[in-house]
């Protein structure tokens, strides 16, 4: 593992000692995250342009704008085929429900095809496979979508996965309007080959529409989407006669005592319905030195789980706001300045259903269930906000040097009503980044280095289980995430891209690296008795390191 990371750093350094290009934006915009480490890379990365492009291209009508207005075009290539390999590892504290070592390989194809009289057709196909290792106390895939309502065994292990993604859309003009429709399907089959063997089939289906119109150079865009996620998880012992308790969790270490029985296997279904909308404004960019970009997004999702006996034990509702403000000042010389304010605010409420079992047929002794009440107890809020300032300078034609600084603020809170359980983590992360782009006739080079330092600003852990007569999972499900986030660390991010241009196409390579080093707050210690102590992967109860490596290399063909 360490050797492969060393090779990646060396390769990255060898690339970075040369220099950079904007072709990387296409790859970065299209890139999906396949591991928690990659997600953390994306969260920390101060790449302003990729953030903006992902937001604007989420509106399918923007494909038609980009086709018809050259000021919105980025890079010379519109289609890409790429192969990527990523590897990551966490040392010390980790989120047990995510695991601590990640590997994936992916093949991606993206293309867009414009018919002058008709519009633009675009699509993406991706196949990925990989492995997430040492997952403990969670048998779900993508648990962040369902937390705290996850199900688990007490053994854990490695999840292998295979992921298919297809996306397509169409954008066209109708009078002064730009309109578009898009849809994607993503399906993942994940499995564990050790007892209790897990098989999780997770799918996403999403359809979206978008509209945009320019009013005297002022661009207004609106898009909305509806999505559906479904996860079928099943666990079963292969070893004859072996049984175990499968926990149906409610957060804060609580679990359903009646439903979490000892059995040979267990399966359940999760459903999420989500809707989202985003309104975006951009002031005129041609001949205007000062450009304002503002966007506000809202997302709502409703998750419910269903047991094999068709009981819906609980459901949750999540509201997300994500405002963005960006100011670009381009005085016309060799330099420009950009300022970005961005935030994401999540709030999730959990609802628990109460069922009774009743005798439906006395003669044949058959029971069924019926819902008698619902109560709301669980609350979760999460926010990430950032402010960034970037100065770009072009010393020579084809060369761009950028300097960037900023800070982000992180806050996470969990509460359980009626019992006064509360957990809170907050931190600030000041960052600085330097980038260099060199564009030649036959090649492009891009190079970015970013450094940040995370400092905790306030952490609270107020969880004392009320019913002490039975063991709970508060250490595994509440303390472990709390301890993971209660830390200080330094992070270094490096990205480099090289593209060799031919007449109609280009071939390139992209490398990304992230290294984080830190440690848990010395006061974040679990002093109680760990309930259901097992061999499942888990953090230590006393403070440990907080280190993480992640690297990715891609070979791509653009045309």
């Amino acid at each position: 593992m360490r050797r492969s990371i060393t090779y990646m750093i060396l390769a990255g350094w060898l690339t970075t000692i040369h220099l950079q290009a904007q072709t990387s934006l296409l790859g970065d915009r299209l890139r999906d995250t396949f591991s928690p480490s990659e997600k953390r890379y994306d969260t920390q990365s101060m790449d302003m342009e990729t953030r903006k492009l992902r937001q604007t291209y989420a509106n399918p009508a923007f494909y038609d704008i980009a086709r018809s207005d050259s000021s919105f075009q980025t890079g010379r290539y519109r289609s890409m085929i790429s192969a990527s390999y990523s590897n990551g590892r966490v040392e010390g504290d980790f989120l047990p429900y995510e695991g601590n070592a990640f590997t994936d390989f992916r093949l991606t194809g993206f293309g867009q095809y414009s018919i002058p009289s008709a519009g633009t057709l675009f699509g993406k196909v991706q196949y990925a496979r990989g492995r997430h290792k040492n997952i403990g106390w969670n048998a779900m895939r993508h648990p962040e979508l369902y937390l705290p309502y996850i199900a688990t065994d007490s053994i854990g292990g490695d999840f292998h996965f295979e992921d298919y993604h297809v996306e397509g859309g169409y954008a066209f003009s109708l009078g002064n309007w730009h309109l578009g429709a898009t849809g994607f399907f993503r399906g993942e089959q994940a499995y564990r080959k050790t007892d209790p063997r897990a098989l999780n089939n997770t799918t996403w289906l999403n359809v979206g529409i978008g509209a945009a119109r320019s009013f005297g150079g002022h661009l207004l865009m609106l898009n909305g989407s509806f999505g559906r996620n479904k996860q079928h998880m099943s666990l079963r012992f292969w070893r004859p006669g072996e049984q175990q308790r499968f926990f149906i969790c409610y957060g804060f270490g609580l679990y359903d005592h009646r439903a979490s029985s000892i059995r040979f296997g267990y399966s359940r279904m999760y459903y999420i319905k989500e809707g989202s909308a985003r309104l975006t404004y951009q002031s005129p960019s041609r001949q205007h030195p000062f450009v304002v970009y503002a966007s506000i997004g809202y997302e709502y999702d409703r998750m419910k789980a269903e047991e094999s006996n068709v009981q819906d034990l609980y459901f949750s509702r999540t509201n997300t706001f994500s405002p963005t403000l960006r100011l670009d000042w381009q005085p016309g010389g060799a330099w420009d300045v950009s300022f970005l304010l961005e935030s994401r605010l999540d709030r999730r409420k959990g609802y628990e259903n109460i069922f009774e079992e009743y005798l439906i047929d006395e003669a044949n002794n058959i029971y069924d269930f019926r819902l008698i009440d619902t109560q709301q107890k669980y609350l979760y809020s999460y926010s990430e906000s950032m402010a960034q300032l970037r100065l770009r300078y072009r010393p020579l034609p084809g060369q761009t040097l950028s300097l960037q600084t900023g800070a982000s603020y992180f806050l996470r809170k969990e509460e359980y009503r009626g019992t006064d359980y509360r957990v809170k983590n907050s931190a600030i992360l000041p960052q600085a980044r330097i980038g260099y782009l060199l564009e030649k006739k036959r090649s492009e080079w891009e190079w970015n280095v970013q450094y940040g330092k995370r400092i905790g600003t306030g952490n609270t852990y107020q969880v004392v289980m009320q019913n002490q007569s039975i063991p709970h999972l508060d250490f595994q499900h509440t303390f472990a995430p709390y301890a993971y986030y209660d830390c200080d660390y330094s992070s270094l991010l490096i990205a480099a891209t090289y593209v060799c241009r031919f007449k109609r196409f280009g071939i390139g390579v992209n490398l990304k690296l992230m290294y984080t080093s830190g440690e848990r707050d010395k006061e974040a210690v679990y002093a109680g008795q760990v309930g259901f102590a097992s061999s499942a992967p888990m953090i230590a109860s006393s403070p440990a390191r907080h280190d993480e490596w992640w690297g990715s290399s891609s070979l791509f063909f653009v045309f």
Partner: protein, 933 residues
Amino acid sequence: MPHNTSIIFFSICLFFLLSVPCLSATNDTKSTYQVKGTVLSASDGEPASFAMVSIGEFDLKTICDIDGHFLFAKVPAGMRQIQVSCLGYSPKEQSVNVEKDTELIIKLSVTSVALPEFEVMAKRTKHDKIVVNEAALEYIQPTSLADVLLLLPGNVYKENDMSSFGQISSRQVGSDANTSLGIAVMTDGAPIVNDGMRTQLVGITDNSTSYSGDSEIRSRTGMNQGVDMRYISTDHIQSVEFTRGISSARYGNLSSGMIQVNSKYGVTPLRVRVKADLKNKLAYVGKGFRLSEKAGTLHVGSDFLHSIDDIREEMDKFSRITAQVYYNNQIKTADYQLHLDAKLNQTITVNKMKKDEMTYQYDESYKADYSRTNLLLKSSLTLNRTWIDEIEFMLSSDLVFDKISRHKFVITSGGGALNMPLAKEEGEHEGMFLPSMYYSDFYIDNIPVNLFTQLHTASRFQLSGPLSLHFQYGLEYRRSKNRGDGAVIKDETHPPFPQDNSYMRPRPNWQIPALSIGAAYLQADLLYGIDDYNLFKISLGGRATHMFNLPDNYALSKLVLTEPRVNASYTFGQGLKNTFRIGYGVENKLPTLDYLYPEKLYKDFYMLNAFTNKEEYRRLITYTNIFDMANTDIRENKNRKIEAGWDLEYKGLDISVTAFYEKTKSGFEYFTVYNPLTYTLYSTVKPGADISNRIPQKEDYLPEQYSLFTSSSRVMNSSKVIKKGVEYRIIFPRIAPLYTTIELNGAFYKTNYGSSLPEYYYPDKRVANKPYPYVGIYDTDPQNEYRRLNTNIWFNTHIPKCKLIFTNFIQLVWIASEQYKDSRTKYPYAYIDFSGTAHPVGTSEIEKINSDDIIFRQLKKTILPIGYARNSKPVSLLWNIKATKEFNKYAKLSFFVNGILDIHPKYLSGGKTTERDWTDPYFGVELFLNFSL
């Protein structure tokens, strides 16, 4: 049909045949003309070598030569539709007005999504066959032939499973072994058979009474259930035809229809196909070569499939490699043309050691070796003579090596009694105790050598005016000889399935006589084309089949089986074209080698069982009973079919409705029979006898006459299946602004699975600590009834200029129910006692049954009303999508998601408990590369 009726039927056919000379005397040669032509590639003008050219309504078919030339010597005058198909090209249909000898040039376009006529659905032919052509096959992205079945009306989506044998169903809800066995799968005219397989070993054989039978072997092998579709690669297939109604008399030894597979042949560019989905990873490469102008063409292809049904289960892995070489050529002289085909196909399975965590722990192993080599030689001589138009000779032979080896860990609960190994006579024997756990090594070896040969002749007569008469007649012979060792237990003192003291002493398969079947057939098609818009057609056909090489005591050895088949249709109308169809037929499936020659069953009961911790003082005496399980009265499975249909075509609207009724009451089935048995039991030690420090003797016990019923399974013609239903298919005209065609099809099926024999019921009770003394015989007619009404809707959006096809498939199941039914008779009409005597049940016995009589009251069969309740599911919906994008003819990228959305509402199962059916989406991607075009 009674035997006399068959004779009358065959007399009619003979009359037709004998009347030919008279009819031919009136043959008006002016009413037919010669149609010849050349089939070329539209892109480069090169000939489309060996393209198939046909005039469907008259059953005329010919194959072009290597230069694309074809000739029909006798085409009835009038407006005719000429259909042309060739590998790599889009099929084309061209009208020609035949008023004189005509010459044509037909240009075919290379298959491409960019072509408006790119066809992705199954087509129905004039003979009510359903044909899936090359483009549709590519679009379906099949892993096995089973995937193609979804296109047939009435079928519902099912996830493919390559790890176990899957029964093929036809016009029914659910599936059954006899239907699956009775579906003939033909490749290029020759059947694929596995009737020569034989697996006789307790624990493996169907209905083995041992509860610890080896389900791993059974689920993977599918004995007596027909062709294993997993071994048929779809990559070598150019088109598939499905016949679910009454088959042509040319085809026999089938009872439930036919799947005809036509292999790829001819010249094609190098093609590569790579597919990945959740269960399967597949790669194919193939190319067709033009050897030289005289040497013909050679098409070669090979594929590799790796499949796993449940990815967590290592034992589920299935890997298959297939390769096929197809050679064809045509020799022409002024008077005749000889078409030659030769095909060599090889299928092997790899990944032989199937192990997982569990087998590693117990150090068990399971090894499956399979290899099938098939050689097909076919020659077709076109004479175009007055009496004979065409003679075809076909020889197909295949050699299968199928060996399953097992190293099995056996745990016996406390040690069971085992008869002396290889005791082959009934009576008393010294026994031995099995260890509490041991390893058993055995293998099942099948080496069937199958041969099929057929001489087929076609004669066409154009009678006066619009009347044509076509004859097809021929002879066929098929033979299957198994040269394998059969089931071999390496050490008979360590049996693999010892739990219920039932054993076989298997004979090697090579000692079993070969299956040998001869048949003659005749089919006469009378076509009466009143004008270009009115066509009446009647097909009368029959087969006579005899099984050779059977022992004289077998009922089938003395019989010639007849199968009359009739199809008639009348088509009328010009713009609004209607066709009415009706058919009746009998189809017979003959028993397999495994059914004909089962092994004797040895049942060993302990007479004296003195098991002590001191091994030297143990004693076991067993009583062996031998049951001959061979059923010499076994007959063919006879399936009678009736169907009627109506087809309508009007301005792109195509409606087809078919109602059918099928009944078989002679399906093969392992039927449980009860045999009374009495022997002396030594279980009570005589007062005063001390056997603690010596080997016990019989004299130490009080002898006791002990009676019981023992059960065994014998193959009988007892399975009854009744299929009724209506199938429908509607193709709407293309909606041009949306680039979309809509096809809707479905069926209502009602299927009853039951038994044609009385029900035997043995109460599982003991009376005064002795086995219950009677077996009741009931006339209950038990059956499980399934009903299903479904509609499948395809929305095919085809945008040629974007080279894009997008399919939405919506499946609606309106009705899905199951119900157990019987005559609700609670009382037996007879009962058997320990002497084997059957006693009728009269009023007095019924009174005893209704009383508190401790013995008779047990014979009252009571099923609670809930047992008869109909379990119905609410309306459900499933949505599948599929998209294909072509890039510059070089590549096609496809993606599919089955079950992208589903609606399965909650329902009360049996009206009591809430349930819901969960479905998981199934998805995958495929890349198809086409080089040099």
